[in-house]
Every structure is written in C-alpha cells, then in structure tokens.
Amino acid sequence: MAGLFTIPPVTRRCSHVWYRNLQVFFKTWKVNFFPPFIEAFLYLFAIGLGIGTYVREIDGIPYVNFIAPAILAISVMNSAFFECTYGSYVRMYYQKSFDAIIATPLSIEDVIAGELLWGATRSTMYVAIMLPVLAAFGVISLPLSLLAIPLAFFGGMLFAGIAMCFTAITPGIDTLNYPAFLFITPMMLFSGTFFPLSLLPEIFRYIALAALPLTHVVAIMRMLTLPALSLTGLLHLAWIGAVAFIVCVVSVNLMRRRLIV
C-alpha cells in the first residue's frame, strides 16, 4: 500500500476527467458565469464603497483598491474548495461517476488528478470573469493584474488539494460543513483580506502565515493589483507551490485509500 506522500502514478488520461467537467460546466454556462460577475459587484459595493466610505484608505491605499485583490483571492479559494468538496463528493458518492470511470483505462489517481485540475481551472475562470469588472471600476492596475489569472491556477491547485483531502476523509456530505465553516470562513476574514495582517497581534500574524493558506494568495494578489512588487512575493509563491504539491499528493493517496477496497 502506497504511503501518504508517495508520488501517485498519474497519466495524461486525467485530462479526460477534466474535459468531462468542463463540458458539463459549459452546458450550464449561464448558471456558472453569472455568479462571479455579480459577486464582484456585490463585494465592491458592500465592502468597497459601503465600508470604504468610513475607512477611506489603508496605508495610503484607497480601501476599494485594498480589498480588490482580496476579492479575487477569496474567489480562487471558494471556487476550487467548493468544487473539490461538495462537487467532487456528489460525483464520487451520489453519481458513482468515479466507479464508472475507473472501469476504463483511467486509474483512480487519474480521476482525482483530473478533479484537482478542474478545481483549479474553475478558480482561473472565476478570476478571469471578475477581472474585467474590477478593471472597469479602476481598482486594479493593468497589465500586471493579468498575472492574477495564472496565479489563480496555482492558488486553485492549493485549495483543490486541501478540499480533496477533506472529501477523502469526510464520513458524509454534511460533515463537509465543518471545513467550510471552521476553516474557509475564518480564512476569508483573517488572511489580510479586509484589513492588513499587521493589525493582528504578532503571534496570530505568524499563525495566519503558517496555517491560513489564503494569506499567501492575498499577499501576491495585492502585489500584482496595486501594484507593489517585492521579493517576499517569491517566498509566498514558493509556499503556495510547495504546499499545493504536498496537499495534492496526499489527497490523491487518501482518495485511493477511501475508494480502493
């Protein structure tokens, strides 16, 4: 039995699973393209303009511009996380799709890899849809902000991998609410999203950097959209890359344990 950290044998056939999900996505494109569009507006109006009227600016940056990258980073997190928890769980448990697919040359590793890639692709598409809205409001800088799109893919892999680990160990679909409310919601609030990390007591700042993956995505996203590039960006990127790789590997192995009996 392969260990948790063994690199799983994934083949290019995983693209078939990715493509299957893409086809379903485009089949229901109206439902899928509308929310990110609306969500961008909602955040901008409620938090940017609403709270922004009182806050005005943070460290010399207009408040709307401060939260714009956080809006993008949160969508990266939400779209990959929810796709690879509830979405994957439904396909695995209720639709029995994974069982059907592993009767073909695809292995379970291929299937899970395809699901992870798909989760990251959703993040990428979400960001690509939101960017024009934010750009139209002039709250992000161009063209550097376009790099948010590839960043969304890497961040997406990170959250897809985390999500798939939960999906692999959850006893049922209801218990997926635990990570959704106890991990995702705090992360959305305390990752330097709507107020800078520096406001947190020092110890919590370190906890946030170590345990809340979103902080790293927000940090790079903000460097791109303000723009305010710095070398620490590379550290954040390395953190995302390393952790994304590890959680993806672990999630595939956990899923294998769950499904292969």
Binding site: S97, A100, I101, A103, I260
Partner: protein, 256 residues
C-alpha cells in the same frame, strides 16, 4: 470480479487477465474489457448519446469513431430515439440497456456483467438476454454473475456455483443439474398425512415450506403412486432445475 477488472487489489493467489498481471498492466487490461456494473452509474449530466461518447473518450477513442459507435450501439440496444434524452428520464430497463451499450463502446474482448438484469421487468430482461446471446454468438467472451438461476441456465456455457467465496460445482448447466439433482421433482402439498405416508413408504423427501419435494427418476410413476396412496391436496411434477441444485448445495437457510 473487481480484481479481474483491475479495480480491487488482489487479495491472494495468482491472477492473470489476457496473460497480464492486473497489478502491473491495469490500463492495458481495462482497455480490452467491458464492464456492466450492478449499480447504475451512468453520468446524469449527459444525454444517452453523450454518455457513450464521453465514455469512449476515456478509452482514447477519437471523437468521430466514438460518434459512429454511439449510433451503432444505441441502435443495438434499441435506444436510438432516446439519443438526446437525459438519463433521469429513462426507465430502469432503458438504463440497464444503455449501460450494456456503454460497456461495448471499446469493442471489448471480455465482457463482465454483474447481475445485469437485476430489478428488470420480464420484457426488459428478455431483451437484455437476447442481446447477450447475440454477443455470445459473435464470439465474445462473457463473464456474468447472477442470483437468477434461470438466467444462468439460459445464458451460460460454463457455470460455477460459489458460496462463501468457495467454488462448490463447476460445469455446463445441464450437466450440473443431471449430476447433482435427480432428473425430475414431484412437489406435494404438505400435510401430516402426506409426510406420514412418505415416511411409511420410505421415500426420501425434502421439506420446503408448504410443499414437500420428492426427487425421482420418473415423475409420472411416483405421482401416480402418491396420488393413489397418500391422497395429497396438491401435486405437481417438474424437471429439476439449477435452483434445486443450488438450494441442495447451499441449504435453505437465509444467508445475510
């Protein structure tokens, strides 16, 4: 079954499919196998036709070929007019037929079916049987599991009866019946009088609920004797079946 399909790891012993080890060459083996699972796991997000086309893609079958085969297979299982219908709108029998079509999309050399007609009405069952016999006649190898022994008797050239993971008997259905059961059975309505009468005559019998089964070489003679001497309320004669063999070998106790 799952081990042959390269889905479950081998629990022990040796296994070779097409001369290959499922642990080492799962993709190559699975490429040549078609599987009809017991559970209906069609893709609910697609229509009938797209289910087949999507499934063909998992086998790296190019799209134009997939389209062609989907047409052909939908016709084969008589679902052509349901081509653009979503899976939810199909009846149970239609779903089973579509799963059979799906299992054939890669032109498998070996077709594995796990209880292919479970829960089907008689018409649908007969249609599936007809298709399976057609595939059989074309020279396909079919491995199927079933609890319906009439199904096994109809379809199988070679049959293995298993219980608790052990092979009890093996052979052609007719041979197994003639080997393990007397040619004919007389079923007699159970009553104290009948049982006393049978015991008195020293005829071996088996208690089966409200009937008593009496195995015999010649049902006609025995029936006549019983009618004259034991005066049963009900009596019928029939040839022995696989079901008799199965119950004889595995017992009548419920197995949960």
């Amino acid at each position: 079954m799952k081990m042959i399909q390269c889905v479950s790891p081998r629990s022990g012993g040796s296994l070779s499919v097409f001369g290959m080890d499922p642990d080492l060459h799962p993709a190559e083996i699975k490429r040549r196998i078609g599987v009809v699972p017991q559970e209906t796991n069609l893709d609910p997000d697609f229509t009938c036709e797209n289910n087949l086309i999507t499934y063909a893609r998992y086998f790296d079958i190019p799209a134009p070929v997939a389209k062609e085969r989907a047409d052909e297979l939908l016709a084969f299982v008589q679902l052509t007019e349901k081509r653009n219908v979503s899976i939810e709108k199909l009846s149970g029998g239609m779903k089973r037929r579509l799963i059979l079509a799906r299992a054939l999309v890669n032109r498998p050399e070996l077709l594995i079916l796990d209880e292919p007609t479970i829960g089907l009405d008689p018409q649908a069952r007969h249609l599936v049987w007809e298709k399976l016999r057609l595939l059989q006649a074309q020279g396909n190898t079919i491995v199927l599991t079933t609890h319906y022994l009439d199904e096994a008797a109809r379809l199988c050239d070679r049959l293995v009866i298993m219980d608790g993971g052990k092979i009890l008997v093996e052979g052609a259905p007719a041979e197994i019946v003639s080997q393990y059961a007397s040619p004919e059975i007389v079923e007699v309505g159970k009553s104290e009088r009948v049982i006393a009468c049978l015991k008195e005559k020293g005829v071996p019998f088996e208690d089966a609920g409200d009937m008593v089964l009496v195995p015999t070489g010649s049902a006609q003679d025995l029936a006549q004797t019983l009618l004259e001497r034991c005066h049963p309320e009900k009596l019928l004669t029939r040839p022995a079946t696989l079901e008799d063999v199965f119950l004889k070998l595995t017992g009548r106790r419920l197995r949960d």
